[in-house]
């Protein structure tokens, strides 16, 4: 009996974590009359069918979010991975200030990051649009990428690289054939994290967006006059797509694990 307390408790917390998501998904099927999607009025697939042809501004906001997320993920993952490699594989001066520079953006509340960027853009006379949002997203993602990639690189065996070099590979070949494949799962995890953080960001985006609207900003604006069920449907879709992404990542990891488990030549 006592042994069941902790697992049961954990199940309850998981249910708590998923409650608002379930509510979101269910009310994407609500056949509502009027503007407020607050009470259950019957089942319909209409909002799934009319997902993209009811609110053009909502579609545009989704395209904006995806554009920002893709660019920010690519740039932040590249920059962050390079820093992660430098931190784990090289000795150099200035490690302490660099660690502080990586740590501080994570330790700063989002509102301060967003507000400071806005102060900079206003002072410099830069108008806010998709570019300023992307600049901001790259900035807050770099630290998260460094932390994720560094954790992965820290656990890897330098002897593998030395072996490649001993066998006559130059530095670039060694990186391409040995180092990169080994750190790839970490880089991929960092990229997924960056993408998720970027597509979901509200606070920093609100400060750096000007008149441009991303998906979270559109939902926020709509929440004052009643959120249309199309938002629930899109939220559900994004959730499902993320699930598929994670599934693929797990498969990749399992395949890598089974590949490395193949016994070597006797």
């Amino acid at each position: 009996m006592a042994r069941l307390v902790l697992p049961a408790y954990t199940g309850l917390v998981v249910a708590y974590l998923f409650l608002p998501i379930a509510v979101m998904a269910v009310f994407g099927f609500n056949d509502l009359q009027g503007r407020f999607n607050f009470t259950w009025q019957g089942f319909t697939l209409e909002h799934w069918a009319n997902l993209f042809n009811t609110y053009p501004a909502l579609n545009q906001s989704l395209i904006n979010s995806l554009t920002v997320a893709v660019i920010a993920t690519l740039v932040a993952t590249t920059f962050g991975t390079l820093i992660g490699l430098a931190l784990t594989r090289y000795e150099f001066r200035g490690r302490a200030p660099l660690n502080l520079l990586i740590f501080l953006p994570i330790a700063t509340p989002e509102i301060v990051l967003g507000a400071s960027l806005l102060a900079l853009f206003i002072s410099a006379g830069v108008s806010r649009d998709l570019t300023t949002i992307t600049i901001a997203h790259i900035m807050f993602n770099i630290s998260f990428v460094v932390v994720t990639v560094r954790a992965r690189i820290a656990g890897f065996d330098r002897a593998l690289e030395e072996a490649a070099m001993d066998l006559g590979a130059d530095e670039w070949t060694t990186f391409r054939k040995v180092t990169f494949p080994l750190i790839f799962p970490g880089v991929l995890a960092a990229a997924l994290l960056a993408f998720a953080l970027s597509i979901d960001d509200f606070v920093i985006t609100q400060f750096t967006a000007g008149q441009t609207v991303t998906f979270p900003l559109w939902v926020y604006g709509a929440s004052r006059i009643g959120v249309p069920p199309q938002v629930n449907v899109m939220g559900t879709l994004i959730f499902l797509i993320a699930l598929v992404g994670i599934g693929l990542w797990l498969l990749l990891q399992r395949r890598q694990a089974s590949l490395s488990a193949i016994p070597s030549e006797p």
Partner: protein, 286 residues
């Protein structure tokens, strides 16, 4: 190129650092300096701003927004303690009892992040609504007074923030607990420690690095949050984030807004260092 690099090997790490480091300096450090200079300017959008080194603005802002500053600190502390109380047993279960379900359970913890933060908060607004399916049903059954409400109370705001940052608490706690060698706990029980004593004197102290990281990851975003107060609260739950947001984006009162964001940031840095002292100098790495 390759030869040049070989002769200047020491430069390689710096080349790796340049793009990301420069980006962080340009778009994190420089904006903070700009914020400091904006705070010390006087004027308005119409008449323009002049740097007058008006240091009085900090005292003035603290005096003017002291309620919201204190409330943010208070909400941040309550949220951190609550999230720790909810998250620790869960992290403990996953780490010591998870078995082969460990990675699935961890995935379940981070999965809420796959739906938008704002959609989840709006969902809570809906769940907690006065006549929503939870409160409405309880009222119809006569369990609750008809006038009972959760929305627009501190309870709603605090639970909203706790919900949002709970996964940030579970993950670092799990990492710290997972590292503990179970044989240490066995040794304690072999030496006649009760289960509670073994937990209090072995497991808990060894998990302190996780507790430190987890509390930072919930306290910092909680103190600066304004979305939960805006969507789930009323005017009586306004936090400092709401004030900064309004001053910047609605009132265009940049000096005051800049001063308040610096106060918020400094307040957090100081609390982090005091807290680190209390926990005997934890490493500042996440």
């Amino acid at each position: 190129m390759s030869n040049w690099l070989r002769r200047h090997r020491g430069l390689v790490p710096y080349l790796f650092l340049v793009p990301g480091g420069l980006w962080l300096i340009l778009f994190f450090v420089v904006p903070l300096i700009t914020t400091a200079s904006v705070a010390l300017q006087e004027g308005s959008l119409g008449t323009g701003y002049r740097l007058t080194f008006n240091f009085g603005i900090f005292a003035e802002s603290i005096a003017r927004w002291d309620t919201q500053l204190l409330r943010s600190l208070q909400f941040g502390l309550i949220v951190t303690v609550l999230a720790m109380l909810i998250g620790y047993p869960m992290a403990y279960t996953i780490a010591f009892r998870g078995g082969r379900y460990k990675s699935i359970l961890l995935l379940l913890v981070i999965m809420p992040f796959f739906t938008s933060f704002i959609i989840r908060t709006i969902s809570w607004k809906f769940i907690l609504a006065d006549q929503g399916f939870v409160l409405g049903t309880l009222k119809d059954l006569g369990i609750l007074e008809p006038g009972f409400r959760l929305l627009a109370t501190p309870v709603a705001v605090i639970s909203g923030i706790t919900y949002n940052f709970l996964p940030f608490v579970v993950l670092p706690l799990y990492v710290a607990l997972e590292r503990i060698d179970p044989r240490l706990i066995e040794a304690a029980t072999d030496l006649y420690a009760s289960r509670l004593q073994a937990f209090l004197r072995v497991t808990l102290p060894l998990s302190i690095p996780g507790v430190f990281a987890a509390s930072l990851l919930s306290f910092i975003p909680a103190v600066g949050d304004y979305l939960n107060a805006e969507l789930l609260g009323s005017r009586n739950e306004t936090m400092i984030g709401n004030v900064i947001q309004r001053l910047y984006l609605v009132n265009n009162d940049y000096p005051q807004a800049a001063a308040l964001s610096l106060i918020l940031m400094l307040g957090i840095v100081v609390s982090v260092f005091i807290y680190r002292r209390m926990l005997h100098g934890q490493e500042l790495t996440v």
